[in-house]
C-alpha cells in the first residue's frame, strides 16, 4: 500500500523493458502490453481517488505529514565541506493539487495508446518510448523532492524528441529539435535556481541542505543571509534574488504551458507529431507546466508571485485572446486545435494569477477538463488524417452526412470546449473568470478588465469552433479527394469509440458534477491560498 505511487510510476518502465527484451516477432502484441499497463494504471489511480482523504488534516501543500501515500527513502548524501551536507531524498506523495492529475494521466495515456494503433513502423521503439514517457509524467506529478522532480521533468523530453522525430510529419526534425531546445533552455536555468535553493534551505530536523520542496515552502527554513532568504532579500545584479528566481522558474514552466510569447514551439510540435503524441502533449505535457507553476513557482516564492500577479494575469489574458485569434485564422484543423490549446491554457494562468479560491479551483478544473477535451479533439483530427491523410479545413464539407457518429463526437468535443454550460470547460472557465473578477475585491491583485477580456476569449472560441463545424460538417458533402475519400471516410469504429466515450463522459460528468474534482481538492486549494497570502 505504501509503495503504490512507486508502482504507478515504474510499472510502465517495467513494461517498456519487457517490450525491449521481447523479440520483434511479438511486434503485434506490444500495443496490448502498453494498453494493459495503462488500464492497470487507471484502475490504481481510481483506487487512489476513491480512497483519497479530503479532510483538512490531509490538505498537504506545505505540510509534509499531511501528504498522502508518502514514500521517503534517503537517496544521496554528500558532504560538501564548507557548505555542509547535501540531502536528496526519493520523496513521493500526493495532495489535492496532484491527485487529479494521476487519473487524468492514466486516462490520457489509455487514449493515446488506443490512438497508437495507427503507428505501423518500428513498434518496439515506439511503445518502449511511450511507456518511458508515461513513467516520467506520473513521476513529475508525484515527486516532492526538487532533484527528483527535475529528473522526471527532464526525462520527459527525451522520449518526446524521438516520438515526434521518428514518427512525425514532414517537418518532424525541425519540430522535434525546436521543442527540445525550447524546453531545455527553460529547464537549464531552472537547475541553477534549484542549486541556489538548496544552498539556502536547511532541513531543521537534520541540519542538512535539502531538496525537499515542502521544506522550501517554509521561510523559516532559509538560512540567514542566504541568497533566497526572504528576510534578507539579496540582489543578483540589482534585481531581487527571489523575484529573479521566480521569473526563471516561471519562464521554464511557461514554456511548457505554453504562455504567449513562449508558445511558438507548440503549433510546430503538435502539427508534426503523430496523433498519440499530440494527445499526450496537449493532454498532459501542458498540464505539467500549470502544475509546476502551482507547486513550484507559487508555493516556493509566494512573495514574488503576489508581486508579479498582475503581469501573470496579463500574460494569461494575452494568451487567451492571441491564441483564439490565431485559431480563427488557421486553415489546418490540427493547427487550429493547437492554438485553441494556447487560448484555453490562458484561463489556467489567469485563474492561478488571481490567487483566489475560485480562481485556483477553476484553473485546476480547467487543466483536468482541457486534458480530456484536447485529447479528444486531437484524437478526432487524427481519425480524419488517418483515413485520408489530409486535414485542411477547406478540403472537407458536409461530413455530417457521411460520418454521422463522428460528427456527434466532434460536436460534443467542440461544444464542450467552447464552454457550453453542462460541460466541464464551462465550469472551469467560469470559475477562473469569477476568480479573476473577484480578485480586485478580495486581494486587489487583478483588475476587473482582465476578467472581462478573458470572457471575450470564450466568445472567440465559440466563433472558431462553430465556424469550423459549419465549414466542415454541414452543407452538401463535397470533398477534395472525391469518391475515393468517400470510401475511405468510414465512420467511428469500435476501438475509436472505446477511446472517445470515456473522454466525452468525463467532459459531461465534470460539467454536471464538478464536485467530483472540487470536493477532493478543496482543502488543498484553501491551504494553498492560505499559504501564498501568508
Amino acid at each position: 500500500m505504501s509503495y503504490i505511487l512507486s508502482i504507478l510510476i515504474f510499472l510502465p518502465l517495467a513494461a517498456a523493458l519487457i517490450i525491449m527484451i521481447l523479440p520483434t516477432s511479438f511486434r503485434e502484441r506490444f500495443k496490448y502490453i502498453a494498453l494493459g499497463t495503462t488500464i492497470i494504471q487507471f484502475i490504481i489511480s481510481v483506487f487512489i481517488y476513491l480512497n483519497f482523504n479530503n479532510t483538512a488534516s490531509f490538505a498537504g501543500v506545505n505540510k509534509e505529514n499531511q501528504f498522502q501515500l508518502l514514500e521517503k527513502v534517503s537517496w544521496i548524501r554528500l558532504d560538501l565541506g564548507s557548505i555542509g551536507k547535501l540531502e536528496i531524498d526519493y520523496l513521493l506523495g500526493i495532495d489535492g493539487l496532484s491527485m487529479p492529475f494521476l487519473i487524468l494521466s492514466a486516462l490520457v495515456m489509455f487514449v493515446a495508446t488506443l490512438a497508437s494503433w495507427e503507428i505501423k513502423t518500428n513498434l518496439k521503439a515506439f511503445f518502449a518510448l511511450l511507456l518511458l514517457l508515461n513513467t516520467a509524467i506520473i513521476g513529475v506529478f508525484c515527486a516532492l523532492d526538487f532533484f527528483l522532480f527535475y529528473i522526471f521533468y527532464e526525462l520527459m523530453l527525451l522520449p518526446l524528441y524521438f516520438l515526434i522525430g521518428m514518427w512525425g510529419g514532414v517537418r518532424r526534425e525541425y519540430a522535434a529539435i525546436k521543442f527540445f531546445l525550447y524546453t531545455l533552455f527553460g529547464s537549464v536555468f531552472m537547475l541553477l535556481v534549484i542549486i541556489g535553493l538548496y544552498f539556502s534551505v536547511v532541513n531543521p530536523a537534520t541540519g542538512n541542505h535539502t531538496f525537499n520542496m515542502i521544506l522550501m515552502m517554509d521561510p523559516a527554513n532559509y538560512l540567514d543571509g542566504s541568497i533566497f532568504s526572504s528576510i534578507t532579500d539579496q540582489g543578483i545584479l540589482g534585481i531581487s534574488a527571489r523575484l529573479l528566481a521566480f521569473i526563471v522558474l516561471f519562464v521554464a514552466f511557461a514554456i511548457k504551458v505554453p504562455v504567449v510569447p513562449l508558445h511558438t514551439w507548440l503549433p510546430d510540435a503538435h502539427v508534426e507529431a503523430p496523433t498519440p503524441i499530440s494527445i499526450i502533449l496537449a493532454g498532459l505535457l501542458l498540464k505539467v507546466g500549470g502544475y509546476g507553476i502551482l507547486r513550484v513557482c507559487f508555493s516556493i516564492f509566494p512573495d514574488a508571485a503576489l508581486s508579479s500577479a498582475w503581469w501573470l494575469g496579463l500574460l494569461g489574458v494575452i494568451s487567451i485572446i492571441y491564441g483564439a485569434l490565431n485559431a480563427l485564422a488557421q486553415t489546418d484543423l490540427k493547427r487550429l486545435i493547437a492554438y485553441s490549446s494556447v487560448s484555453h491554457m490562458g484561463f489556467v494562468l489567469l485563474g492561478i494569477a488571481s490567487c483566489t479560491t475560485e480562481g485556483v479551483s477553476g484553473a485546476m478544473l480547467q487543466m483536468i477538463s482541457h486534458g480530456g477535451l484536447s485529447a479528444m479533439l486531437f484524437f478526432l483530427v487524427g481519425m480524419i488524417y488517418q483515413r485520408v491523410h489530409d486535414r485542411e479545413i477547406a478540403n472537407f464539407r458536409g461530413l455530417a452526412l457521411i460520418m454521422p457518429q463522428f460528427t456527434v463526437f466532434v460536436m460534443i468535443a467542440f461544444f464542450a470546449s467552447l464552454g457550453l454550460p453542462g460541460f466541464s470547460a464551462f465550469m472551469a472557465e467560469a470559475f477562473s473568470l469569477i476568480g479573476a473578477f473577484t480578485s480586485q475585491d478580495v486581494n486587489g491583485l487583478l483588475p476587473r478588465w482582465m476578467a472581462i477580456a478573458g470572457s471575450l476569449g470564450i466568445l472567440l472560441s465559440a466563433a472558431y469552433f462553430l465556424w469550423t463545424l459549419q465549414r466542415m460538417f454541414f452543407g452538401q458533402t463535397r470533398l477534395k479527394g472525391g469518391d475515393e475519400w468517400l470510401v475511405r471516410l468510414t465512420d467511428v469504429n469500435l476501438r475509436e469509440k472505446f477511446a472517445l466515450i470515456p473522454l466525452a463522459a468525463l467532459a459531461l460528468l465534470l460539467g454536471i458534477f464538478p464536485g467530483l474534482v472540487f470536493s477532493k481538492m478543496n482543502t488543498s486549494v484553501l491551504a494553498f491560498i492560505q499559504m501564498i497570502s501568508g
Partner: protein, 499 residues
Amino acid sequence: MNDFIPGISYSIDNTLGSLGFFLPEIVLVIGFLVVIISDLFLTHKNKQICFILTLITLLIAGFLSFTSLNSVSASLFGGMIRLDHQAILFKLLICAASILFVLFVRFNKALQSTGKGTGDMHSILLAVHLGLSLMVMSANLLMIYLSVEMVSVGSYLMVGYSSRNAKQSEAAMKYALFGAVCSAIMLYGISLLYGFTGTLDLGDPSFISGILAIQDFSWGLAIVMVLVGIAFKLSLVPFHFWSPDVYEGAPTPVTAFLSTAPKIAGFALLINFLWVFQPMGVGGLSNSLFNFNSVLGAVAILSMVIGNFGAIWQNNVKRMLAYSSIGHTGFMLMTLFVFSESGFKALIFYMAIYVIMNMAAFMMVDEIEERSGQKDIDGYKGFGKYIGLLMTGMVIVLISLTGLPPTAGFTAKFLVFSAAWEAFKLSGSPILMAMIMTGAISTVISLFYYFKIPMNAFLRDSESPSVLLPVTPKTYLSLFLVFLLILFMIFPSLLLRLL
C-alpha cells in the same frame, strides 16, 4: 662541496623512505621495461603479450594506488613530489583512462594491423602514464616541467604512431610544434620564477615572499607563462588550436586517451600550482595574491563559447567531439573558483564521468567507422535501423555529455554548477555569474550539435543501406560504460564515497 656532505645521509634516508609511497610508479617503470623487452623477444610467439603485460601492470599500479587511498599526505623525495588523497584520486582516474585505452587499442583494427605492431604503443603508454602520475604529484617547478615534457613527447609519438597519410603526419607535426612552443614559454616562465624567488620548491615559504618582493607586472607575466604550458595540455582557449586537427588525425584510441588522461593530470597540476597562491585558511581565489578569478573566468567562458559554437559547424564526428571537449574543459574550470573540498569533489566526480562518457563515445565512433566506413555525421543516416543497440547506447552517452538525466552526466553537471554557485556566493563577482550563465547556455547549445547524431541515425533514412561488418567487442565494452553512466546516476554514492 664539503657543505653537502652532511646532507647526503639525510637525502638517502629521505629517498629510501619515499620509495614506499612510490610503489605504483615503480611498478610502472618495471612494467615499461618488461614490455619493451617482451616486445623485442616474445611478440613473435604471442602477438598480444604486450597488451596482456601492460594491462597487468596498470591493474597492479591502480590497485596499489587504491590501497593507499586513505593514507596521510606526504612530501616525497625532498619536496619534489607530494602525495595526498586528492593526488591518488587523480592517479586512479588516469589509471582508469589508461586501462580503457589499452582495451580500446586491443580491439582497434587500424592499430592492430599496422606493420609495427602495438608493442611500442603499449610501452609509450606506460611511459606517458608515469609522466601523468608525476604531473599529478609534482610540487616542484622542475618536476612540473619534466613531467609535462615526458607526457608531451610520449603524446607526440602516440599521435603519429600509425601515420600513413598526410593528414595524420600533419596532426602529429602540428601537435609537436605547438607543444614545443608552449613548453618553451612555460620553461621561460619557470626560469623567471626561479630568478625572482631563488627556489623551485612550490612549498617553500621563500617562494611567496620572493614573488611579493617583485613588481606585480613581472611576476604576473611569469605566472601567465607557466599557465600557458598548462593551458596547452588542457586545450583551453586560446591554446586550443591544435586539438581539432590532432583529434581528427590521430588514431581514435589515442584521441580518446588524449581527450581524457592528460586533461585530468593538467587539472591536477593547475590545482597544485594555484594552491601556492592560496593564502592559508581563506576561501576563494579572489583573495589570493594574483587576481586569477578574472583570468581563469575569462578563459572558462571563452573555452565554453568557442568549444560549443565550434562544434556546431563540424561534420566529422571526431572533430565535433574535439570541440565539445574544449567546452567540457572550460566547464570543469568552474569548479576551481571555490578552491575548496566541495569544488574538488565536483571536479573529480565530473572527470570520472567524463572519462567514462568520452571513452564510450570514441569507442562507439570508432566501432561505427570500422564497421561502415563512416566518419561524418551525415553518413550516420538510417543507422538506428541497422545498429540499433549501438546507436541507442550512443544516444545515452550523448545525453550524458549534454548533462541531462537519467545519466550520471547530469549529476556531474549538477555538482559543478553547485561549486560555481558556491564560488559566486562567496565572492559575488559578476564574472562568475557570467560564467555560470555561459555554462547553462552552452548546455543548450551542446544539445543541438550532439543531437545531430541521433537525428541522422534515427530521424532520417539512408538511400542505400551501408555495408556493415560484424560486431567487435568494442560494442559490448562501450555498452558496459553506458551501463555505468546509468548506474552512477542512480547510485552516485558508489563513486562519491571514495572522494
